[in-house]
Amino acid sequence: MTAPAIELKGISKSFGPVQANKDISISVAPGTIHGIIGENGAGKSTLMSILYGFYKADKGEIWINGKQTEIPDSQAAIVAGIGMVFQHFKLVENFTVLENIVLGAEDGGLLMPSLTEARKILKELAAEYELNVDPDKRIDEIGVGMQQRVEILKALYRQADILILDEPTGVLTPPEADQLFRILGRLRAEGKTIILITHKLREIMEATDTVSVMRRGQMTATVKTSETSPEHLAELMVGRKVLLRVDKLPAKPGKPVLEIEQLRIVDGAGVERLKGIDLTVHAGEILGIAGVAGNGQSELMEVLGGMRSGEGSIRLNGAALPLHGAGSDARARRAAHVAHVPEDRQREGLIMDFHAWENTAFGYHHAPEYQRGLLMNNAAIRADTEAKMKKFDVRPPDPLLAAKNFSGGNQQKIVVAREIERNPDLLLIGQPTRGVDIGAIEFIHKQIVDLRDQGKAILLVSVELEEILSLADRVAVMFDGMIMGERIVAETDEKELGLMMAGVAGEAA
């Protein structure tokens, strides 16, 4: 029997008070693809970063090919034959592809010979694995799919036998993802060992040989893929049976609330991010926007929320909202009864160092009920916060605790409470349940549906198709800054939407 390619024994790691990995052990056989799944924040990236020497474990042992190996830094990992493609790429943006690949793996003190040599090897690798990239393009000139290839090539150039990929398909379209899996298959056939982190059960089922499940820093199970099912894995992931559909009555759409026509955005670098969007959201309905991350959904939310300017026209209840200049900022949007739960609550929706009560006023800090003469009425804000915390079951219900000291789900509840309780005409809500535990997911979903049933319009952006399918009434798919098509949720399925997400246009709805 051959020794496992990787064996981790009792790995623990904490970041200050956060225990990211607790006594984790895992073993991966050589020449296999091993999947790792788990909710956001479960500790997957941390574990792999430890294996790659990026973080140092507090406790535990690493065995590579049957030998105990110290991996104090990435150099050691590379020497041990490990390569890793991080969730967030580690590339030098204004270097060329070639320079990125040789960085750290140069032979000799002079650059030119290394680059010449690397160019040759790169050509061979590209031919062998269908990984074509232009070695002289700068990283900031190529797309994310290309950048991922560069990362994979970096590992192969360093002759990695063990390849770790952290959520590689999050930024890829389905066809790109398919190609990736073909390449992985070929690598496996050559005897390389691959660890694949993903949230997508379908990818696990299709591509892996074995799969491990992580929950809250612990390894809950390792099973053969052939001996499990998506439902089983989901249960292992969240620790109990998962409710796949939200209970809700059919929508009763009313008059149009939000009408978007020919909306365009050109970013600072001159790239067109939105290429003429037309959308309508009616009162009493939830319109979901599906799509692979980075296809313009964030920009759409930002321009609607008043965080950036654009061209075209948007009307709210028939009245035009300015898209740039005076009156186009987020404050004006709030005044027009548009509420916005942003995609990234920690970066945008909250000030992490502010107390909960300050965050409750955040964005509405000019509201008359929060003022007393020239000063802010802190007492009123605190009382209001307490009421909202109670209603949304925020734990602990302490307005004086800083936002960063709440758990992700409770942070999200603070944001959702702040926005929904304003009783807006239009709610923009992005990734409402990202990194939120299952109990909070159900609660938040219910709040959204309730708001709809009060006859409000809701625009929901999510990269989780499942969430869209269970929550939205209508769905529009975005690809490359355009709407590929709209569907009634009840009349479509994952497969059709997946094709549209890949840029294959469906017939207009």
Binding site: G16, H340, R347, E348, I351, F354, E358, H365, H366, M376
Partner: protein
């Protein structure tokens, strides 16, 4: 969960940093062959042992309160205003213009307008780097440094070519008229029957500075503008989400900061020298950095730290007067305070956090 209780952050860390700085300073004094204990005694005596000493300590402290507040307000907006020196110089120009060219009937009125003039000049000098940062992305630290030098050149030019009276040799403005003379603590306290040294320069600007501390506290923690400044300082993306204009807040915060730095001139130019001289600021703009760091950007902390530095300054002047220790000792102490409370903060913080974490873990 917090890594460490708030009091440790606000009190313990600055205290330990200060002790480290003090310890090293003592070593420096030892190294140049002097007795640190005697030096400290002399400093305490000279700075706090008499109303004369207090008068100077408070005079310096007034300067540092203004510049410390200036750094603190900018810091709340996430901006490092290293240009307090230049803004204070321009503030001096503002005061000189107000005092020289307008015949004031009474000092109260003059002070009011001097505050305005100084604030306006200081704010204007800060507004340009702020605008360039907000609109054109120029690094504000570099631009404010550059503006310090430009301010020095401007002041130099104005003093030599414009304000210098024809008959005079030194590059300084004419003396202000008697009517704009600000009452010193001696004059203020005499009616209350309190005897205070006649020759110490601490004056009514001290009250302006204390009032400024209060006003800044209100502004930062009690007004929606302060709320926006703090929010922007913590997260620019968050600010944009909340409808807080980064451009507007950057410019406003820097202008408030510049105005505060400029208002220092009511103390040193109007209250003390009663004319504008070259280098009137004597580096107070830079000391503001140390003061704000020590005071954790809180007005009350700034108030305390300003008095500490006022003490250091007056004590240091006494040292230079009565011993062989050069005045530069204060510069070294100032450097060490900035180093430990600012740059080497983590050196104290990380072990402390570990200790607190260990204590918390054990019971559970």
């Amino acid at each position: 969960m917090e890594k460490m209780p708030k009091w440790a952050d606000v009190v313990l860390i600055p205290l330990i940093s200060l002790m480290l700085a003090a310890g090293l300073s003592a070593l420096v004094i030892l190294a140049i062959g002097e007795d640190p204990v005697a030096a400290v005694k002399l400093m305490v005596d000279g700075a706090l042992g008499s109303s004369y000493g207090w008068g100077y300590t408070l005079y310096y402290a007034t300067n540092f309160m203004f510049t410390g507040l200036a750094v603190a307000v900018a810091a709340h907006a996430g901006l490092f205003n290293i240009g307090g020196e230049g803004q204070a110089m321009l503030g001096g120009l503002g005061v000189a213009v107000i005092c020289l060219f307008i015949p004031w009937p009474h000092w109260t009125l003059a002070l009011l307008f001097a505050c305005l003039g100084a604030g306006l000049f200081g704010a204007a000098w800060a507004a340009i780097p702020a605008y360039l940062q907000a609109k054109r992305g120029s690094h504000i630290v570099i631009t404010t440094i550059m503006f310090n030098f430009i301010a020095a050149a401007v002041l130099n030019y104005v003093l030599v070519n414009v304000l210098k009276p024809a008959s005079s040799m030194d590059p300084a403005s004419a003396r202000f008229s008697e009517t704009v003379h600000l009452p010193t603590l001696h004059e203020l306290l005499a009616p209350l029957g309190i005897a205070f040294s006649k020759s110490a320069p601490a004056n009514v600007s001290l009250l302006v500075a204390v009032f400024a501390c209060l006003a800044v506290w209100l502004l930062i923690w009690r007004t929606s503008l302060g709320f926006e400044i703090r929010a922007f300082g913590r997260s620019e993306a968050g600010a944009r989400y909340a409808g807080i204009s980064p451009v507007k807040i950057t410019i406003i915060a820097m202008m408030i900061s510049g105005a505060l730095a400029g208002m220092m001139a009511t103390n040193n130019v109007m209250g003390e020298a009663e004319r504008l001289v070259l280098n009137a600021t004597e580096g107070a703009g830079f000391i503001g950095i140390a003061v704000a760091l020590m005071g954790r950007n809180h007005p009350f902390g700034v108030f305390l730290a300003a008095i500490l530095f006022g003490f250091l300054y007056q004590g240091g002047a006494e040292l230079a007067l009565w011993t062989k220790i050069p005045r530069e000792l204060i510069v070294v102490i100032q450097a060490l305070v900035i180093l430990f409370t600012g740059a080497l903060d983590n050196m104290v913080r990380i072990p402390l956090e570990k200790i607190f974490l260990a204590f918390r873990k054990e019971p559970s």
